[in-house]
Subunit: 423 residues, 2 copies
Amino acid sequence: MVVELINTGSELMLGRVLNTHQQWLCRQLADLGFVVSRQVAVADAGNDIREAVREALSRADLIITTGGLGPTSDDMTRELIARLLGKALRQDPALVAHIAHFFELRKRPVPERTRAETLVPEGAIVFANAYGTAAGLAMEVRPNPFRPEGKLSWLIMLPGPPRELRPMFTDSVVPLLRRVLPHPGLFVCHTIRATGIGESIVEERVGRSLQDLTRAGLEIGYCARPGQVDVRLAARGPDAERLVGEAEEIVRQRLGSHVFGREDEDLEGLIVRLLTERKETLAVAESCTGGCLSHRLTNVPGASAVLLAGFVTYSNQAKRKFLGVAAGTLAQHGAVSEAVAREMAEGARKETGANYALSITGIAGPGGGTLEKPAGTVFIGLAGPFQTVVRRNFNPWDRETFKQVAAQQAMDLLRRKIAGKDE
Amino acid sequence: MVVELINTGSELMLGRVLNTHQQWLCRQLADLGFVVSRQVAVADAGNDIREAVREALSRADLIITTGGLGPTSDDMTRELIARLLGKALRQDPALVAHIAHFFELRKRPVPERTRAETLVPEGAIVFANAYGTAAGLAMEVRPNPFRPEGKLSWLIMLPGPPRELRPMFTDSVVPLLRRVLPHPGLFVCHTIRATGIGESIVEERVGRSLQDLTRAGLEIGYCARPGQVDVRLAARGPDAERLVGEAEEIVRQRLGSHVFGREDEDLEGLIVRLLTERKETLAVAESCTGGCLSHRLTNVPGASAVLLAGFVTYSNQAKRKFLGVAAGTLAQHGAVSEAVAREMAEGARKETGANYALSITGIAGPGGGTLEKPAGTVFIGLAGPFQTVVRRNFNPWDRETFKQVAAQQAMDLLRRKIAGKDE
């Protein structure tokens, strides 16, 4: 079963936007047992799209394209594919009605431009778009003129905006794939997530112990990201569950308390879940991370039950006024110091009555560093029903990485404390 | 000049990480005048990488690969390419010394695994890695056995981690490209950014007026993202500046005050810049966006001069205690209401002494909606040296899109007020 993705968009090739479809679709497909073997992005240029589709049709059983179905003049996927396969485009009355209804709800006239969105190649299956005007399309290419022996391919076209593509994939494409494609066989893939440890050390600790399982068919992957290393364990076939299960046990044992989670649960998800289970609450006081920690925590549905308040206190005045940091402490130690991190955490806890409070104060850079406290220096405090803890870390990365890593370190400090996994 | 990118990584194909290299490298290359015509991602599998490299070598003058140069067993790009081109791998003593120094600084023993990172295909140019252990490599493939008439190609291999790849590209690859590639000719590309208006309306307003310029060679692209539409104007050749300049004037005139910026400046960058210029300050009080607005503002270097404080006040208690929202207002109108948005903004302004304060209170969903105030409802307040303004918006998107759009709307409200561009 060969699966390929084609993402179209000149904005991708000019580097004006991030291609989030690749990750999302690859992930959804892998969870269904279909691992994408190639992803291609090309500009909104007739020749480039046509070539990419033709090549994919010569290799793949399933091809998914994204983008190029909208109302503007650079949207040309529908028409190019219809022409490539020799299919006429016909107006679909249901789509005309859908678009009229869409704009009626929004009390706006139907833009003339949306007419292109009502055209459908003959024989195509139409996926209604619950969140926009561009329908998705699926075509069974049978016989496939670009493939040896004409073996059939499925060609699925999805709209570009993520909030339209995602529900359409889940609600319409998945049921179709289940119906028309052969069952992909057992595929098991788990990810173990560790923090506070580097990628090469991770492999040194686990690689050799996994050799026997690798020979038996286990696939291992390592992926480093800000403040985190993911170890991916995958296998196919009837033995997959056992192989991956045994490997996971070895990884957990070798990495010990560095392992914080599994699959998609990130540290913020874990913290919200742990505190919810314990019926405990948190407050957050951020200086250099400027709300990054609050933002990440509140990306988790249900965070409102846990996060009592967040303070972004860049200025000394705000640290004094809202967190009760003493003027003398600021004068004597400076805003980036162990003493201030301690008073910020204790102040946030006292002001909110939360069970725990995390504080972060540091120098995100690029400016602001000194010899003694270079840019990248950060102090992380944790106050709770115990003696306040402060850690000093050094994260000499770019501004955004610095913020993410410091937020990660703060959450890890809390995780270790409440899970009883002190360093 | 044909340029192609190849991103390797099984984690990409399994959808475990986002491919940020595509955007970043495409953007850097476009700014140098080299527009990438195809980007391909494949798994860390020998055959897939080899095929992708072979195909790219058959078409492109410049090929850049990312990933697969690290110390772990799934890093195989260096070896595969050396074998494909019939080059031996030799240990580079400078790389041995670099890696020894890297670990000495970190007071850790040199992991055995890093030995692979010291190997270099014969004839390759080595790029030192200032932020890691995996060196980059450049090879002039001359004659190129995969290309008609053996026309030469440049093949450049870069390490996967963004914080290693990015400085290496800027410091080592750009000077090399300038030296060895023909000058790409004039390429001009500007992006105009608008907010508070949909993509199809944008094209209806500007598309027809740009037809003459399009016939003369102007390329237009539209890109919709949360709370924003980007219009991209590009042209090549000696007339490029004039074409893009005239087009920009038309777009600005047609979209009026919806246009907030140009190129990469996002709303948070604009807000920080405007307030810095005016020597004014801001406070932010967030409920449903949970720090998203503070986080975005503080991603801008220099934000500390402008943002006095941010409050994340999910709970009613926090709204009362830190922002002075009256208990009666909460009881009478509910936390998601015009009255509470007003008191949050006024409270944040009063507590911090900032010139302006923005407030956001709403229902991010998925839960928490009612018939009268469905999930997606949000009230945005702005207090300043004028009568407090509150807007009610409806953003029925997923949780993260909701947060981003609401933050966008809040910043737009402030922008319009201080730029004198009231709706």
